[in-house]
Symmetry: C2
Subunit: 566 residues, 2 copies
């Protein structure tokens, strides 16, 4: 492709509305342009990368045995009403009426449509298992579109749906997709983890999010620096062997703490470390009061509390509730001498504390030298805190670190939610009707392009990995008006095309500085610069990633290029 | 692909809601399913064909130098208001509001979006010419969706846009696309013509429709049986050398024709051929009365009348207007003795008539032995009738035939309509701002799939041409429960896969009849049937198109397959 007539409008300045690096670089390198908030055009350079990502996804889906198809974006409201999502999906679902005033949704996902197809066209157990997928445009009216194509309102997605006889079959289909996703994101050169996600609301079935570890993102991921463990911090289990202090228990004392309510205030005032304090939080759990205790340097985790108590509803008590139950305000509550009806649930770490500080259940007083199991006795010790950086990895290998995560994929066991709602049944080998057991598997294709850039760039621009690069070679005639340079460049361009190489030829009559800046920005892995030594047949080969530059005679060029594994 | 778990739900019966053969066959062969009126899912088999068509389109677009990109479906109303199409497009434009009550259209085409991009990102004459394209889903709220994917409301389209310095450049870009379209539709095995379409409303610029000649369609195409001439019958020029009758002009006579008003009635009543009658039609052309004359066996063409008179508005006079102007009702009007203010315009054929019959401008009377240029003198003889089957082709080669046409492509010179409306200018080599000159080029990709089927089927099903067939080989184990058959089939299946052949393996435990019927319906070009002689290594090879069947030893199979050019 000749750059002079290739639409790749690079920008020198960082666009003011782009907060994250991938958004900035996609705009600056001429990959995308915005049409409306969260709605983007992929210009030719961006489109080439999107296609390469799409092809990798397609290859691995096909390899996994999934069948490609194409469902429409226009979805009748009836289907969504049958599944109950017409209301439940809320304002994210884009809706419109046709010329006959019939209501439709623009598909944000296709569970309803695929289930209605399968309902009509799959009859027998002999036709199962089956996994269907499509790579198709999706629509979601995000409340706050941002980060360019990382959170857009129209985007390219791969969505797959598996259909099985039973949950055992679903487990297999799920694993097949899980494995395919691992292959896909590995081939896409991403530092990702399959993160166990909270599945409480969906009935405890398995679900994993594939998260790219990044500096931007909307979730915080706890991951091991040595293994492949990763989880959303909200549900990551804590497995720590705490040491019990060698201190001898001392006599419990009441101390006046007139204005000290938080752990920070109390520990400073009393000159003790936060880990010597007990953080006490009063919750209303399914209408019963529960006092949750964690160590002062830890964060309480109410999702874990909910799971531990198998509760429906967990809410922090407000000031009034606290006063009614414990006769004092939240800053002064603690586990000692509380009414018998208040359940006390403590994190494991609390049981190892000696001579701790906690609220006295008396306005403006705390207690010191409090010792668990002497001065109070929790109903239960459990894992009830958030995991922290520095904790040992729950799988026993390595140490926990935190990163932001970009969700690029999601695998989900749907079970029979949709097949039951829409009546998708099959006849089993006994001739009995059974609901088809389903799974759902998504990959954000356009988002993944941005995720790759988040991981593969430097201060000068994008640094494309080979297999998703828009071109493999950037051929630059430094001074196109100089005949020897132009001739050699044209000659190499033809040669590369003949060899089937993907080459962008910068044939523009621009200054060298402009060309190099654009080349860095666009980030094609290998650059071949034709300059002053063209007459001798000497060109420069520069690797984008390392900046490594060498002079090469054209006769040696193929060998050198091969070294870079093109 | 093993058919047992491939989603290809064939139907025995002809679906009652499918009027045309392609729609019937796409439903019956399990290629598509309807989600809503005019909204279809492409199931895996249909998707494979759609992809192949898409790839052929892409290859030829790339070969023509066009650059692929991807624009969004969501288009802000502002852009459409700037171009004036927000109102003009009418109810075909699907519209919706987002959560902030902003108005959007679902793109039926992308002139506005591409022009707004080019406006911002093309600056200099050095960046032109350029042609950009995308293969993308389009939305049109058709008043009457029908014929399956031939006229849908959501469909896959290739749309391209060219950008040039001037109209001369546009001519070249247009020709490049025109040539690419010819290559595409040839490769797609279609009997098509590039038809000159009426471009009056757009200011007389060139436009061609690529029409597949068919038995269904919404336009009638006049084409030559010997050359590539083709035109919509409404604008096809008539070039006929009429013979003048050898009869001597006789004396004009008035005859009573009490109830005879139409040519049919009059010619029967008077026992003369329709071609001896003059058909007289009174039009109001830009408020002036014009009497149009054509031979009784011809059809008057008001589009030609409009062009000939360079008129804005042409309407047939109603009964009242006719009585006011000619003092009689429409069934009895004629060109003899009419008021001087009524212009008479006649088709060429009229001037060759001798002793003709026409209305007498007197209630219940006609005239016979009327002779042009003796009894009346038209202001003008011109081409004013529709072309007819049997006419010589206007290009002098062959005879005109009629066919219905399916419009699969459209190339159009837009000129500066959009660039001026949206302000897309470039700086020319003199440093002056000039509007970019544009062309627009569409191909209905999903519609083309149906057009191929209209042309390639027989009474048993689809007969796919090789290069768009969903698979190349249909491998059928006639009795999969029979071990020798199953083993040989499995063995050949593996072999074909290894050789990279696209093969569908019917491994279902169905009866032979069911398998053969499905195979005919699906229409894969070559069928390999493994039956009773499996133990001897003998299989049957059957060509779908010819029905030709031969027994072949497996050792000879590759050679035989090669003969069929797989």
């Amino acid at each position: 492709m000749k750059q002079s007539t290739f639409l790749v409008p690079t920008l020198r300045d960082i666009p003011s509305d782009a907060d994250v690096i991938s958004h900035q670089l996609m705009l600056r390198s001429g990959m995308i342009r915005q049409s409306a908030s969260g709605v983007y055009t992929f210009l030719p350079l961006g489109w080439k990368v999107l296609r390469k990502v799409e092809e990798i996804v397609r290859e691995e889906m096909d390899r996994s045995g999934a069948q490609e198809m194409l469902m429409p974006s226009i979805q009748p409201s009836d289907l969504w009403k049958e599944s109950g999502r017409w209301e439940a999906y809320g304002p994210e679902l884009m809706r419109f009426k046709d010329r006959h005033d019939r209501e439709f949704a623009l598909g944000p996902t296709h569970e309803e449509v695929i289930t209605s197809i399968v309902k009509d066209d799959i009859r027998s157990y002999k036709e199962l298992p089956m996994t269907l997928y499509q790579i198709q445009t999706k629509f979601r009216d995000e409340r706050r579109p941002r980060f360019g194509v990382l959170r857009g309102r129209e985007f390219l997605m791969k969505d797959a749906y598996s259909f099985d006889h039973d949950f055992e079959g679903l487990d297999k289909s799920y694993q097949t997709m899980y494995d395919a996703y691992n292959r896909i994101f590995s081939r896409l050169n991403l530092n990702f983890r399959a993160v166990i996600a909270d599945s409480g609301a969906m009935g405890g079935k398995d679900t994993h999010e594939f998260m790219v570890l990044s500096n931007v993102g909307e979730d915080t991921i706890a991951y091991s620096d040595e293994s492949d463990f990763a989880a959303n911090i909200e549900i990551a289990p804590v497995k720590v062997n705490y040491d019990k202090s060698a201190d001898q228990p001392e006599e419990m004392q009441e101390i006046e703490t007139p204005d000290q309510r938080t752990i920070q205030e109390v520990s400073t005032f009393l000159n003790v470390m936060p880990e010597k304090c007990i953080k006490s939080l009063l919750f209303i759990v399914d209408e019963e009061p529960v006092l949750l205790l964690v160590r002062g340097d830890h964060e309480a985790n109410d999702i874990k509390l909910k799971h531990v108590l198998d509760a429906e509803n967990v809410e922090l008590a407000d000031e009034t509730q606290t006063k009614n139950i414990l006769k004092t305000s939240p800053g002064f509550i603690g586990p000692v001498n509380i009414p018998a009806e208040v359940k006390v649930i403590a994190d494991h770490a609390v049981s190892y504390m000696v001579n701790a500080v906690c609220g006295a259940n008396k306005e403006k007083y705390h207690l010191k030298n409090v010792n668990p199991d002497r001065d109070f006795r929790p109903n239960l010790y459990e894992d009830l805190r958030n995991i922290q950086e520095g904790d040992p990895s729950p799988d026993g290998r390595g140490t926990v670190r935190f990163k932001e995560g970009i969700e690029v994929g999601h695998v989900f066991k749907l079970g029979t939610k949709y097949s039951e709602a829409l009546g998708a049944q099959y006849l089993n080998d006994q001739g009995k009707s059974k609901p088809i057991v389903m799974g759902s598997y998504g990959i954000g294709v356009s988002r993944t392009v941005a995720a790759i850039i988040e991981e593969h760039h430097d201060e000068n621009g994008i640094v494309w990995p080979q297999n998703v690069a828009p071109f493999h070679i950037h051929l630059i005639a430094i001074n196109i008006k100089q005949e020897a340079q132009r001739d050699l460049a044209e000659q190499l361009y033809e040669k590369f095309l003949t060899e089937g190489r993907e080459v962008l030829f910068d044939d523009r009559p621009e200054r060298a500085g402009v060309k190099f800046k654009d080349a860095d920005l666009i980030g094609i892995p290998l650059r071949i610069q034709i300059g002053k030594r063209a007459e001798e047949g000497i060109v420069e080969v520069k690797e984008r990633k390392t900046g490594e530059l060498q002079e090469v005679h054209v006769d040696e060029l193929s060998a050198v290029i091969s070294k870079y594994q093109l």
